[in-house]
Protein backbone atom coordinates (compact mmCIF):
# COMPACT_ATOMS: atom_id res chain seq x y z
CA UNK A 1 0.00 0.00 0.00
CA UNK A 2 3.05 2.25 -0.10
CA UNK A 3 2.58 4.88 -2.78
CA UNK A 4 5.47 5.82 -5.06
CA UNK A 5 6.55 9.29 -6.14
CA UNK A 6 6.05 8.34 -9.77
CA UNK A 7 2.26 8.27 -9.42
CA UNK A 8 1.92 11.54 -7.51
CA UNK A 9 1.38 15.10 -8.61
CA UNK A 10 3.23 17.81 -6.68
CA UNK A 11 -0.01 19.36 -5.42
CA UNK A 12 -1.14 16.12 -3.81
CA UNK A 13 2.34 15.29 -2.53
CA UNK A 14 2.97 18.71 -1.01
CA UNK A 15 -0.51 18.98 0.50
CA UNK A 16 -0.12 15.63 2.21
CA UNK A 17 3.38 16.57 3.38
CA UNK A 18 1.84 19.65 4.96
CA UNK A 19 -0.92 17.68 6.66
CA UNK A 20 1.53 15.04 7.91
CA UNK A 21 4.14 17.55 9.09
CA UNK A 22 1.44 19.36 11.03
CA UNK A 23 0.29 16.13 12.66
CA UNK A 24 3.88 15.21 13.52
CA UNK A 25 4.39 18.60 15.15
CA UNK A 26 1.14 18.26 17.08
CA UNK A 27 1.93 14.72 18.24
CA UNK A 28 5.47 15.72 19.22
CA UNK A 29 4.22 18.42 21.58
CA UNK A 30 1.68 15.96 22.98
CA UNK A 31 4.37 13.34 23.62
CA UNK A 32 6.65 15.94 25.15
CA UNK A 33 3.90 17.12 27.48
CA UNK A 34 3.41 13.54 28.55
CA UNK A 35 6.53 13.91 30.72
CA UNK A 36 7.21 10.20 30.59
CA UNK A 37 10.86 10.12 29.57
CA UNK A 38 10.60 6.37 28.97
CA UNK A 39 8.52 7.09 25.90
CA UNK A 40 11.22 8.21 23.48
CA UNK A 41 13.50 5.17 23.71
CA UNK A 42 10.40 2.99 23.84
CA UNK A 43 9.01 4.52 20.64
CA UNK A 44 12.31 4.12 18.84
CA UNK A 45 12.83 0.53 19.89
CA UNK A 46 9.24 -0.44 19.13
CA UNK A 47 9.61 1.19 15.73
CA UNK A 48 12.63 -1.02 15.11
CA UNK A 49 10.51 -3.93 16.31
CA UNK A 50 7.74 -3.22 13.78
CA UNK A 51 10.31 -2.80 11.05
CA UNK A 52 11.77 -6.19 11.96
CA UNK A 53 8.45 -7.92 12.49
CA UNK A 54 7.30 -6.87 9.03
CA UNK A 55 10.07 -8.99 7.60
CA UNK A 56 8.84 -12.15 9.31
CA UNK A 57 6.24 -13.71 7.06
CA UNK A 58 3.49 -16.08 8.06
CA UNK A 59 1.52 -18.44 5.85
CA UNK A 60 -2.08 -17.53 5.21
CA UNK A 61 -4.08 -20.72 5.78
CA UNK A 62 -5.50 -22.46 2.71
CA UNK A 63 -4.01 -20.03 0.21
CA UNK A 64 -0.34 -20.83 0.17
CA UNK A 65 0.49 -17.16 0.10
CA UNK A 66 2.15 -15.26 2.92
CA UNK A 67 1.71 -11.99 4.70
CA UNK A 68 3.24 -9.87 7.40
CA UNK A 69 2.04 -7.70 10.22
CA UNK A 70 1.31 -4.03 9.56
CA UNK A 71 1.59 -2.93 13.13
CA UNK A 72 -0.20 0.41 13.15
CA UNK A 73 -2.93 -0.62 15.55
CA UNK A 74 -0.48 -2.69 17.61
CA UNK A 75 1.66 0.41 18.14
CA UNK A 76 -1.38 2.48 19.06
CA UNK A 77 -2.38 -0.12 21.66
CA UNK A 78 1.13 -0.19 23.14
CA UNK A 79 2.02 3.50 22.97
CA UNK A 80 -1.18 5.49 22.72
CA UNK A 81 -2.16 7.39 19.55
CA UNK A 82 0.31 10.29 19.52
CA UNK A 83 3.47 8.29 20.13
CA UNK A 84 2.18 5.56 17.83
CA UNK A 85 1.65 8.00 14.98
CA UNK A 86 5.22 9.28 15.31
CA UNK A 87 6.56 5.74 15.41
CA UNK A 88 4.64 4.64 12.31
CA UNK A 89 5.93 7.75 10.55
CA UNK A 90 9.52 6.84 11.49
CA UNK A 91 9.22 3.31 10.18
CA UNK A 92 7.93 4.69 6.88
CA UNK A 93 10.78 7.21 6.70
CA UNK A 94 13.34 4.42 7.01
CA UNK A 95 11.57 2.26 4.46
CA UNK A 96 11.35 5.14 1.99
CA UNK A 97 14.99 6.16 2.34
CA UNK A 98 16.69 2.79 2.43
CA UNK A 99 14.43 0.45 0.54
CA UNK A 100 12.54 2.79 -1.80
CA UNK A 101 9.30 1.43 -0.30
CA UNK A 102 7.28 4.49 -1.14
CA UNK A 103 8.91 7.66 -2.37
CA UNK A 104 10.14 10.71 -0.51
CA UNK A 105 7.45 13.03 -1.83
CA UNK A 106 4.93 10.24 -1.26
CA UNK A 107 5.99 10.04 2.41
CA UNK A 108 3.31 12.52 3.36
CA UNK A 109 0.62 10.36 1.74
CA UNK A 110 2.01 7.13 3.14
CA UNK A 111 2.30 8.45 6.68
CA UNK A 112 -1.23 9.79 6.41
CA UNK A 113 -2.72 6.60 4.96
CA UNK A 114 -0.98 4.19 7.30
CA UNK A 115 -0.64 6.35 10.40
CA UNK A 116 -3.67 8.56 10.89
CA UNK A 117 -6.32 5.88 10.56
CA UNK A 118 -4.98 3.29 13.02
CA UNK A 119 -3.83 5.89 15.55
CA UNK A 120 -6.71 8.36 15.52
CA UNK A 121 -9.69 6.40 14.20
CA UNK A 122 -9.29 2.67 14.75
CA UNK A 123 -7.66 2.87 18.18
CA UNK A 124 -9.73 5.48 20.04
CA UNK A 125 -13.07 5.05 18.26
CA UNK A 126 -13.15 1.31 17.68
CA UNK A 127 -10.58 -0.61 19.68
CA UNK A 128 -11.03 1.24 22.95
CA UNK A 129 -14.81 1.35 22.65
CA UNK A 130 -15.03 -2.41 22.14
CA UNK A 131 -12.48 -3.24 24.85
CA UNK A 132 -14.23 -1.06 27.38
CA UNK A 133 -12.97 -1.09 30.93
CA UNK A 134 -12.93 -4.87 31.24
CA UNK A 135 -10.72 -6.38 28.53
CA UNK A 136 -11.31 -10.05 27.81
CA UNK A 137 -9.68 -12.30 25.20
CA UNK A 138 -12.85 -12.26 23.04
CA UNK A 139 -13.12 -8.51 23.20
CA UNK A 140 -9.42 -8.15 22.39
CA UNK A 141 -9.87 -10.28 19.27
CA UNK A 142 -13.00 -8.56 18.01
CA UNK A 143 -11.58 -5.13 18.73
CA UNK A 144 -8.30 -5.75 16.93
CA UNK A 145 -9.86 -7.38 13.88
CA UNK A 146 -12.46 -4.67 13.36
CA UNK A 147 -9.91 -1.97 14.18
CA UNK A 148 -7.38 -3.22 11.64
CA UNK A 149 -10.02 -3.76 8.94
CA UNK A 150 -11.46 -0.27 9.31
CA UNK A 151 -8.02 1.38 9.38
CA UNK A 152 -6.96 -0.49 6.25
CA UNK A 153 -10.20 0.26 4.40
CA UNK A 154 -9.85 3.96 5.09
CA UNK A 155 -6.16 3.85 4.17
CA UNK A 156 -6.87 2.07 0.90
CA UNK A 157 -9.61 4.51 0.02
CA UNK A 158 -7.25 7.35 0.73
CA UNK A 159 -4.68 5.78 -1.62
CA UNK A 160 -7.34 5.74 -4.34
CA UNK A 161 -8.25 9.39 -3.78
CA UNK A 162 -4.63 10.54 -3.78
CA UNK A 163 -3.75 8.55 -6.89
CA UNK A 164 -6.78 9.63 -8.86
CA UNK A 165 -6.33 13.27 -7.82
CA UNK A 166 -2.74 13.10 -9.02
CA UNK A 167 -3.83 11.95 -12.44
CA UNK A 168 -0.73 10.01 -13.44
CA UNK A 169 -2.36 6.60 -13.30
CA UNK A 170 -5.07 6.07 -15.89
CA UNK A 171 -7.06 3.78 -13.64
CA UNK A 172 -10.62 5.16 -13.31
CA UNK A 173 -11.91 5.97 -9.85
CA UNK A 174 -14.58 3.26 -9.60
CA UNK A 175 -12.38 0.52 -11.01
CA UNK A 176 -9.66 1.49 -8.59
CA UNK A 177 -12.05 1.46 -5.64
CA UNK A 178 -13.48 -1.88 -6.69
CA UNK A 179 -9.94 -3.26 -6.92
CA UNK A 180 -8.56 -1.80 -3.70
CA UNK A 181 -11.30 -2.18 -1.10
CA UNK A 182 -11.97 -5.94 -1.36
CA UNK A 183 -8.24 -6.73 -1.51
CA UNK A 184 -7.69 -4.68 1.61
CA UNK A 185 -10.67 -6.25 3.30
CA UNK A 186 -8.99 -9.63 2.91
CA UNK A 187 -5.62 -8.25 4.01
CA UNK A 188 -7.31 -6.50 6.92
CA UNK A 189 -9.01 -9.65 8.23
CA UNK A 190 -5.77 -11.63 8.06
CA UNK A 191 -3.77 -8.85 9.65
CA UNK A 192 -6.41 -8.37 12.31
CA UNK A 193 -6.18 -12.07 13.19
CA UNK A 194 -2.41 -11.86 13.42
CA UNK A 195 -2.57 -8.73 15.56
CA UNK A 196 -4.98 -10.59 17.82
CA UNK A 197 -2.63 -13.53 18.29
CA UNK A 198 0.25 -11.19 19.15
CA UNK A 199 -1.83 -9.14 21.57
CA UNK A 200 -3.32 -12.17 23.27
CA UNK A 201 0.17 -13.59 23.69
CA UNK A 202 1.39 -10.42 25.35
CA UNK A 203 -1.83 -10.26 27.36
CA UNK A 204 -1.20 -13.68 28.89
CA UNK A 205 2.60 -13.42 29.19
CA UNK A 206 3.10 -9.85 30.37
CA UNK A 207 -0.30 -8.29 31.02
CA UNK A 208 1.28 -5.28 32.71
CA UNK A 209 2.60 -4.08 29.33
CA UNK A 210 -0.91 -3.77 27.97
CA UNK A 211 -2.26 -2.49 31.25
CA UNK A 212 0.31 0.28 31.54
CA UNK A 213 -0.48 1.26 27.99
CA UNK A 214 -4.19 1.26 28.75
CA UNK A 215 -3.75 2.87 32.13
CA UNK A 216 -2.08 5.87 30.54
CA UNK A 217 -5.44 6.69 28.92
CA UNK A 218 -3.84 9.01 26.43
CA UNK A 219 -7.12 9.92 24.79
CA UNK A 220 -9.23 9.43 27.88
CA UNK A 221 -10.47 12.95 28.22
CA UNK A 222 -10.89 13.78 24.56
CA UNK A 223 -14.42 13.35 23.31
CA UNK A 224 -15.27 11.38 20.21
CA UNK A 225 -16.98 14.48 18.89
CA UNK A 226 -13.71 16.42 18.89
CA UNK A 227 -11.94 13.76 16.93
CA UNK A 228 -14.73 13.52 14.40
CA UNK A 229 -14.87 17.30 14.05
CA UNK A 230 -11.14 17.70 13.57
CA UNK A 231 -11.27 14.90 11.04
CA UNK A 232 -14.03 16.55 9.10
CA UNK A 233 -11.99 19.75 9.08
CA UNK A 234 -8.93 17.89 7.90
CA UNK A 235 -10.89 16.08 5.20
CA UNK A 236 -12.42 19.25 3.89
CA UNK A 237 -9.09 21.01 3.91
CA UNK A 238 -7.24 18.30 1.99
CA UNK A 239 -10.23 17.50 -0.16
CA UNK A 240 -10.58 21.17 -0.99
CA UNK A 241 -6.98 21.59 -2.03
CA UNK A 242 -6.97 18.34 -3.96
CA UNK A 243 -10.17 18.98 -5.83
CA UNK A 244 -9.10 22.50 -6.60
CA UNK A 245 -5.98 21.09 -8.15
CA UNK A 246 -8.02 18.45 -9.91
CA UNK A 247 -10.10 21.22 -11.45
CA UNK A 248 -6.98 22.93 -12.75
CA UNK A 249 -5.73 19.66 -14.04
CA UNK A 250 -7.80 17.97 -16.71
CA UNK A 251 -6.09 14.67 -15.96
CA UNK A 252 -7.40 14.65 -12.42
CA UNK A 253 -10.34 13.37 -10.48
CA UNK A 254 -12.93 14.96 -12.71
CA UNK A 255 -11.42 13.52 -15.77
CA UNK A 256 -11.67 10.01 -14.45
CA UNK A 257 -15.15 10.57 -13.12
CA UNK A 258 -16.21 12.04 -16.44
CA UNK A 259 -14.73 9.10 -18.22
CA UNK A 260 -16.54 6.70 -15.98
CA UNK A 261 -19.79 8.61 -16.36
CA UNK A 262 -19.39 8.17 -20.07
CA UNK A 263 -19.44 4.42 -19.63
CA UNK A 264 -22.40 4.73 -17.30
CA UNK A 265 -20.86 3.17 -14.24
CA UNK A 266 -21.13 6.09 -11.89
CA UNK A 267 -23.35 5.29 -8.93
CA UNK A 268 -25.23 7.64 -6.68
CA UNK A 269 -22.63 7.90 -3.95
CA UNK A 270 -19.91 8.96 -6.29
CA UNK A 271 -22.26 11.40 -7.88
CA UNK A 272 -22.79 13.07 -4.53
CA UNK A 273 -19.07 12.95 -3.84
CA UNK A 274 -18.62 14.73 -7.10
CA UNK A 275 -21.08 17.40 -6.00
CA UNK A 276 -19.37 17.80 -2.66
CA UNK A 277 -16.02 18.23 -4.35
CA UNK A 278 -17.49 20.67 -6.83
CA UNK A 279 -18.91 22.69 -3.95
CA UNK A 280 -15.57 22.73 -2.16
CA UNK A 281 -13.97 23.79 -5.37
CA UNK A 282 -16.23 26.80 -5.57
CA UNK A 283 -15.47 27.69 -1.99
CA UNK A 284 -11.74 27.55 -2.63
CA UNK A 285 -11.94 29.53 -5.84
CA UNK A 286 -9.90 32.35 -4.33
CA UNK A 287 -6.88 30.18 -4.98
CA UNK A 288 -7.69 29.97 -8.66
CA UNK A 289 -5.04 32.44 -9.78
CA UNK A 290 -2.36 30.07 -8.83
CA UNK A 291 -1.13 27.76 -11.51
CA UNK A 292 1.88 25.59 -12.08
CA UNK A 293 4.59 26.55 -14.54
CA UNK A 294 3.72 25.00 -17.82
CA UNK A 295 5.01 24.93 -21.30
CA UNK A 296 3.19 25.07 -24.55
CA UNK A 297 3.71 21.95 -26.63
CA UNK A 298 3.43 19.01 -24.28
CA UNK A 299 0.49 20.35 -22.38
CA UNK A 300 -1.53 21.05 -25.47
CA UNK A 301 -1.00 17.43 -26.40
CA UNK A 302 -2.37 16.13 -23.13
CA UNK A 303 -5.30 18.47 -23.10
CA UNK A 304 -6.36 17.51 -26.57
CA UNK A 305 -6.10 13.86 -25.77
CA UNK A 306 -7.81 13.96 -22.40
CA UNK A 307 -10.70 16.00 -23.67
CA UNK A 308 -11.41 12.89 -25.64
CA UNK A 309 -11.16 14.59 -29.03
CA UNK A 310 -9.84 12.90 -32.09
CA UNK A 311 -6.16 13.25 -32.69
CA UNK A 312 -5.65 16.21 -34.94
CA UNK A 313 -2.76 17.65 -36.82
CA UNK A 314 -0.82 14.45 -37.15
CA UNK A 315 2.02 15.97 -39.08
CA UNK A 316 2.69 18.61 -36.43
CA UNK A 317 2.60 16.02 -33.73
CA UNK A 318 4.96 13.81 -35.66
CA UNK A 319 7.35 16.74 -35.93
CA UNK A 320 7.41 17.40 -32.19
CA UNK A 321 7.73 13.75 -31.28
CA UNK A 322 10.66 13.18 -33.63
CA UNK A 323 12.58 16.20 -32.43
CA UNK A 324 11.63 15.18 -28.89
CA UNK A 325 13.09 11.71 -29.30
CA UNK A 326 16.23 12.99 -30.99
CA UNK A 327 16.67 15.59 -28.27
CA UNK A 328 16.20 12.95 -25.57
CA UNK A 329 18.81 10.73 -27.12
CA UNK A 330 21.22 13.66 -27.30
CA UNK A 331 20.70 14.69 -23.68
CA UNK A 332 20.96 11.09 -22.56
CA UNK A 333 24.31 10.66 -24.31
CA UNK A 334 25.52 13.95 -22.91
CA UNK A 335 24.52 13.06 -19.37
CA UNK A 336 26.33 9.76 -19.54
CA UNK A 337 29.43 11.31 -21.09
CA UNK A 338 29.57 14.04 -18.47
CA UNK A 339 29.13 11.49 -15.73
CA UNK A 340 31.90 9.35 -17.15
CA UNK A 341 34.20 12.35 -17.48
CA UNK A 342 33.55 13.62 -13.94
CA UNK A 343 34.04 10.16 -12.59
CA UNK A 344 37.47 9.88 -14.19
CA UNK A 345 38.38 13.31 -12.89
CA UNK A 346 37.41 12.56 -9.30
CA UNK A 347 38.97 9.12 -9.44
CA UNK A 348 42.18 10.66 -10.74
CA UNK A 349 42.27 13.13 -7.85
CA UNK A 350 41.23 10.61 -5.21
Amino acid sequence: MHMADALLSPAVGITMWGVTAGTIAYCSTKVKKDLDDRKIPLMGVLGAFIFTAQMINFTIPATGSSGHIGGGLLLAILLGPYAAFLTIASVLVIQALFFADGGILALGCNIFNLGIFPAFIAYPLIYKKIIGSQPSPTRLSIASIIGVVVALQLGAFSVVLETVASGISALPFTTFVVLMQPIHLAIGIVEGLVTTTVISFVYTARPEILQSAMGARPLGNISVRNIVLSFLALTFLTGGVLSWYASKNPDGLEWSIAKVTGTGELTGTEQSLHHVLAAIQEKTAFLAHYSFPSKQGGEATTEVATAGKEVQDDSGRLGTSVSGSVGSLLTLTMAILIGFFLRRETAGKG
Binding site: A6, I24, T87, T175, T331
Partner: protein, 270 residues
Amino acid sequence: MRSIDGAVLDLKRLDLLATGDSIIHRLDARAKVVTTLFFIIVVVSYKRYALAELTPFLFFPVITLALSNLPISYILKKIAAILPLAIFVGLFNPLFDRETQVLLGPISISGGWISLVSIMGRSALTVGSAIILIATTGFISICHALNRLGIPRVFTVQLLFLYRYIFVLTEEAACTTRARELRSCGKKGLGFSSFGPLIGHLLIRTWARAERIHMAMVVRGFSGEFHSRQINRFGGKEYLYVIGWSLVFIILRTEDITAILGAAFTGFFS
Protein backbone atom coordinates in the same frame (compact mmCIF):
# COMPACT_ATOMS: atom_id res chain seq x y z
CA MET B 1 8.75 -8.89 2.33
CA ARG B 2 12.46 -9.29 2.10
CA SER B 3 14.67 -11.57 4.09
CA ILE B 4 15.93 -10.13 7.34
CA ASP B 5 19.58 -10.85 6.65
CA GLY B 6 19.36 -9.29 3.19
CA ALA B 7 17.73 -6.16 4.53
CA VAL B 8 20.36 -5.68 7.21
CA LEU B 9 23.19 -6.17 4.75
CA ASP B 10 21.60 -3.58 2.50
CA LEU B 11 21.21 -1.16 5.37
CA LYS B 12 24.82 -1.64 6.46
CA ARG B 13 26.08 -1.22 2.92
CA LEU B 14 24.30 2.11 2.46
CA ASP B 15 25.42 3.17 5.91
CA LEU B 16 29.07 2.43 5.10
CA LEU B 17 28.84 4.20 1.72
CA ALA B 18 27.76 7.32 3.58
CA THR B 19 31.02 7.33 5.53
CA GLY B 20 32.90 7.91 2.27
CA ASP B 21 34.59 11.15 1.41
CA SER B 22 33.80 13.26 -1.66
CA ILE B 23 32.62 16.74 -2.58
CA ILE B 24 29.04 15.52 -2.30
CA HIS B 25 29.61 13.69 0.99
CA ARG B 26 31.14 16.79 2.54
CA LEU B 27 28.16 19.03 1.80
CA ASP B 28 25.86 19.92 4.68
CA ALA B 29 23.01 17.42 4.78
CA ARG B 30 20.38 20.16 4.63
CA ALA B 31 21.56 21.27 1.20
CA LYS B 32 21.26 17.74 -0.13
CA VAL B 33 17.86 17.10 1.46
CA VAL B 34 16.36 20.33 0.12
CA THR B 35 17.81 19.90 -3.36
CA THR B 36 16.69 16.28 -3.66
CA LEU B 37 13.19 17.14 -2.50
CA PHE B 38 12.96 19.99 -5.00
CA PHE B 39 14.25 17.69 -7.73
CA ILE B 40 11.56 15.12 -7.00
CA ILE B 41 8.82 17.74 -6.95
CA VAL B 42 9.91 19.14 -10.30
CA VAL B 43 10.17 15.67 -11.86
CA VAL B 44 6.70 14.62 -10.75
CA SER B 45 5.21 17.97 -11.78
CA TYR B 46 5.22 16.84 -15.42
CA LYS B 47 2.02 15.69 -17.01
CA ARG B 48 1.20 12.08 -17.57
CA TYR B 49 2.67 11.80 -21.07
CA ALA B 50 5.92 13.62 -20.42
CA LEU B 51 8.82 11.52 -21.58
CA ALA B 52 11.35 13.42 -23.67
CA GLU B 53 11.12 16.36 -21.25
CA LEU B 54 12.24 14.14 -18.40
CA THR B 55 15.55 13.05 -19.93
CA PRO B 56 17.58 16.20 -19.07
CA PHE B 57 16.76 15.57 -15.42
CA LEU B 58 19.06 12.59 -15.61
CA PHE B 59 21.90 15.11 -15.27
CA PHE B 60 21.27 15.54 -11.56
CA PRO B 61 21.63 11.89 -10.46
CA VAL B 62 24.37 11.22 -12.99
CA ILE B 63 26.51 14.17 -11.95
CA THR B 64 26.06 13.66 -8.20
CA LEU B 65 26.74 9.96 -8.64
CA ALA B 66 29.89 10.68 -10.61
CA LEU B 67 31.15 13.23 -8.10
CA SER B 68 30.44 11.08 -5.07
CA ASN B 69 32.51 8.00 -5.95
CA LEU B 70 29.65 5.63 -5.17
CA PRO B 71 29.73 2.18 -6.78
CA ILE B 72 27.58 2.76 -9.87
CA SER B 73 26.55 -0.86 -10.38
CA TYR B 74 25.21 -1.08 -6.83
CA ILE B 75 23.10 2.06 -7.21
CA LEU B 76 21.82 0.87 -10.60
CA LYS B 77 20.90 -2.47 -9.10
CA LYS B 78 18.95 -0.75 -6.34
CA ILE B 79 17.06 1.31 -8.90
CA ALA B 80 16.45 -1.74 -11.08
CA ALA B 81 15.04 -3.57 -8.07
CA ILE B 82 12.09 -1.16 -7.82
CA LEU B 83 11.31 -0.99 -11.53
CA PRO B 84 9.08 -4.09 -11.52
CA LEU B 85 6.95 -2.28 -8.96
CA ALA B 86 6.79 0.79 -11.22
CA ILE B 87 5.73 -1.43 -14.12
CA PHE B 88 3.08 -2.99 -11.93
CA VAL B 89 1.54 0.32 -10.89
CA GLY B 90 1.70 1.65 -14.44
CA LEU B 91 0.37 -1.51 -16.06
CA PHE B 92 -3.22 -0.29 -15.94
CA ASN B 93 -2.43 2.68 -18.11
CA PRO B 94 -2.08 0.80 -21.44
CA LEU B 95 -5.32 -1.02 -20.57
CA PHE B 96 -7.41 2.05 -19.84
CA ASP B 97 -5.79 4.67 -22.02
CA ARG B 98 -5.74 3.48 -25.62
CA GLU B 99 -5.93 6.70 -27.55
CA THR B 100 -3.11 7.26 -29.98
CA GLN B 101 -0.68 9.87 -28.77
CA VAL B 102 2.35 9.55 -30.96
CA LEU B 103 2.84 8.40 -34.52
CA LEU B 104 6.33 7.32 -35.37
CA GLY B 105 6.02 6.55 -39.04
CA PRO B 106 3.58 3.66 -39.42
CA ILE B 107 3.62 2.80 -35.70
CA SER B 108 1.04 4.44 -33.51
CA ILE B 109 1.66 4.48 -29.79
CA SER B 110 -1.19 4.82 -27.35
CA GLY B 111 -1.13 7.26 -24.46
CA GLY B 112 -1.17 4.38 -21.99
CA TRP B 113 2.15 3.00 -23.16
CA ILE B 114 3.74 6.42 -23.12
CA SER B 115 2.55 7.09 -19.60
CA LEU B 116 3.75 3.64 -18.51
CA VAL B 117 7.24 4.43 -19.75
CA SER B 118 6.95 7.87 -18.18
CA ILE B 119 6.08 6.30 -14.83
CA MET B 120 9.13 4.07 -15.09
CA GLY B 121 11.31 7.05 -15.91
CA ARG B 122 9.89 9.02 -12.99
CA SER B 123 10.47 6.05 -10.69
CA ALA B 124 14.07 5.68 -11.76
CA LEU B 125 14.75 9.40 -11.31
CA THR B 126 13.02 9.84 -7.95
CA VAL B 127 14.24 6.60 -6.43
CA GLY B 128 17.73 7.11 -7.82
CA SER B 129 18.04 10.58 -6.31
CA ALA B 130 16.74 9.31 -2.97
CA ILE B 131 19.26 6.47 -2.87
CA ILE B 132 22.09 8.82 -3.79
CA LEU B 133 20.93 11.14 -1.01
CA ILE B 134 21.08 8.46 1.65
CA ALA B 135 24.30 6.93 0.32
CA THR B 136 26.14 10.25 0.35
CA THR B 137 24.66 11.64 3.54
CA GLY B 138 23.86 8.86 5.97
CA PHE B 139 20.77 8.55 8.08
CA ILE B 140 22.17 10.26 11.15
CA SER B 141 23.05 13.43 9.27
CA ILE B 142 19.68 13.39 7.55
CA CYS B 143 17.97 13.26 10.95
CA HIS B 144 20.05 16.17 12.21
CA ALA B 145 19.24 18.05 9.02
CA LEU B 146 15.50 17.40 9.44
CA ASN B 147 15.77 18.67 12.96
CA ARG B 148 17.44 21.89 11.81
CA LEU B 149 14.85 22.26 9.09
CA GLY B 150 12.14 22.41 11.74
CA ILE B 151 11.04 18.83 12.36
CA PRO B 152 10.47 18.47 16.15
CA ARG B 153 13.27 17.04 18.26
CA VAL B 154 11.01 14.38 19.80
CA PHE B 155 10.46 12.94 16.35
CA THR B 156 14.06 13.00 15.13
CA VAL B 157 15.48 11.64 18.36
CA GLN B 158 13.23 8.61 18.35
CA LEU B 159 13.97 8.21 14.65
CA LEU B 160 17.62 7.87 15.62
CA PHE B 161 16.72 5.36 18.30
CA LEU B 162 14.76 3.39 15.76
CA TYR B 163 17.67 3.32 13.35
CA ARG B 164 20.12 2.30 16.07
CA TYR B 165 18.00 -0.60 17.28
CA ILE B 166 17.12 -1.94 13.86
CA PHE B 167 20.60 -3.42 13.88
CA VAL B 168 20.08 -5.09 17.25
CA LEU B 169 16.51 -6.29 16.74
CA THR B 170 16.97 -7.66 13.25
CA GLU B 171 19.79 -9.78 14.57
CA GLU B 172 17.58 -11.11 17.36
CA ALA B 173 14.74 -11.76 14.95
CA ALA B 174 17.05 -13.48 12.48
CA CYS B 175 18.23 -15.83 15.25
CA THR B 176 14.67 -16.59 16.29
CA THR B 177 13.40 -17.27 12.79
CA ARG B 178 16.45 -19.39 12.01
CA ALA B 179 15.86 -21.43 15.15
CA ARG B 180 12.26 -21.94 14.10
CA GLU B 181 13.14 -22.89 10.53
CA LEU B 182 15.68 -25.44 11.71
CA ARG B 183 13.02 -27.20 13.76
CA SER B 184 10.20 -26.90 11.22
CA CYS B 185 11.26 -30.14 9.49
CA GLY B 186 11.27 -28.67 6.00
CA LYS B 187 7.75 -27.27 6.22
CA LYS B 188 7.70 -23.94 4.52
CA GLY B 189 6.15 -20.88 6.02
CA LEU B 190 5.03 -19.92 9.44
CA GLY B 191 1.57 -20.81 10.62
CA PHE B 192 -0.76 -18.57 12.55
CA SER B 193 -0.42 -20.50 15.79
CA SER B 194 3.34 -20.10 15.99
CA PHE B 195 3.51 -16.64 14.43
CA GLY B 196 1.69 -14.94 17.29
CA PRO B 197 3.94 -16.27 20.05
CA LEU B 198 7.07 -15.71 17.98
CA ILE B 199 6.29 -12.07 17.32
CA GLY B 200 4.88 -11.71 20.83
CA HIS B 201 8.12 -13.00 22.34
CA LEU B 202 10.12 -10.63 20.24
CA LEU B 203 7.85 -7.82 21.39
CA ILE B 204 8.27 -8.68 25.06
CA ARG B 205 12.04 -8.89 24.71
CA THR B 206 12.00 -5.58 22.88
CA TRP B 207 9.97 -4.01 25.65
CA ALA B 208 12.44 -5.27 28.25
CA ARG B 209 15.28 -3.86 26.19
CA ALA B 210 13.62 -0.47 26.02
CA GLU B 211 13.39 -0.53 29.81
CA ARG B 212 17.11 -1.35 30.11
CA ILE B 213 18.01 1.40 27.67
CA HIS B 214 15.99 3.86 29.66
CA MET B 215 17.81 2.68 32.77
CA ALA B 216 21.16 3.22 31.06
CA MET B 217 20.05 6.73 30.14
CA VAL B 218 18.81 7.61 33.59
CA VAL B 219 21.97 6.46 35.34
CA ARG B 220 23.94 8.79 33.12
CA GLY B 221 21.90 11.75 34.23
CA PHE B 222 19.15 11.80 31.57
CA SER B 223 16.24 13.93 32.62
CA GLY B 224 14.11 14.15 29.51
CA GLU B 225 16.15 16.62 27.47
CA PHE B 226 18.47 15.64 24.63
CA HIS B 227 21.59 17.67 24.06
CA SER B 228 23.21 17.45 20.71
CA ARG B 229 26.03 19.25 19.03
CA GLN B 230 25.00 21.90 16.57
CA ILE B 231 27.57 22.19 13.84
CA ASN B 232 26.80 24.75 11.20
CA ARG B 233 28.51 23.90 7.98
CA PHE B 234 26.06 25.63 5.70
CA GLY B 235 28.35 27.90 3.71
CA GLY B 236 29.11 29.05 0.19
CA LYS B 237 29.35 25.59 -1.30
CA GLU B 238 25.95 24.65 0.07
CA TYR B 239 24.29 27.81 -1.23
CA LEU B 240 25.89 27.21 -4.61
CA TYR B 241 24.66 23.61 -4.64
CA VAL B 242 21.08 24.41 -3.69
CA ILE B 243 20.66 27.54 -5.81
CA GLY B 244 22.60 26.16 -8.78
CA TRP B 245 20.61 22.98 -9.06
CA SER B 246 17.31 24.72 -8.34
CA LEU B 247 17.98 27.11 -11.22
CA VAL B 248 18.81 24.20 -13.50
CA PHE B 249 15.59 22.43 -12.53
CA ILE B 250 13.51 25.55 -13.05
CA ILE B 251 15.04 26.20 -16.47
CA LEU B 252 14.54 22.60 -17.49
CA ARG B 253 10.95 22.77 -16.31
CA THR B 254 10.07 25.95 -18.16
CA GLU B 255 12.07 25.45 -21.35
CA ASP B 256 11.80 22.20 -23.27
CA ILE B 257 15.53 21.70 -23.75
CA THR B 258 15.20 18.36 -25.52
CA ALA B 259 12.80 19.75 -28.10
CA ILE B 260 15.06 22.75 -28.75
CA LEU B 261 18.11 20.52 -29.02
CA GLY B 262 16.31 18.03 -31.19
CA ALA B 263 14.90 20.72 -33.46
CA ALA B 264 18.30 22.31 -33.84
CA PHE B 265 19.86 18.94 -34.59
CA THR B 266 17.26 17.78 -37.12
CA GLY B 267 17.16 21.28 -38.60
CA PHE B 268 20.92 21.20 -39.06
CA PHE B 269 20.72 18.01 -41.10
CA SER B 270 17.69 18.88 -43.20
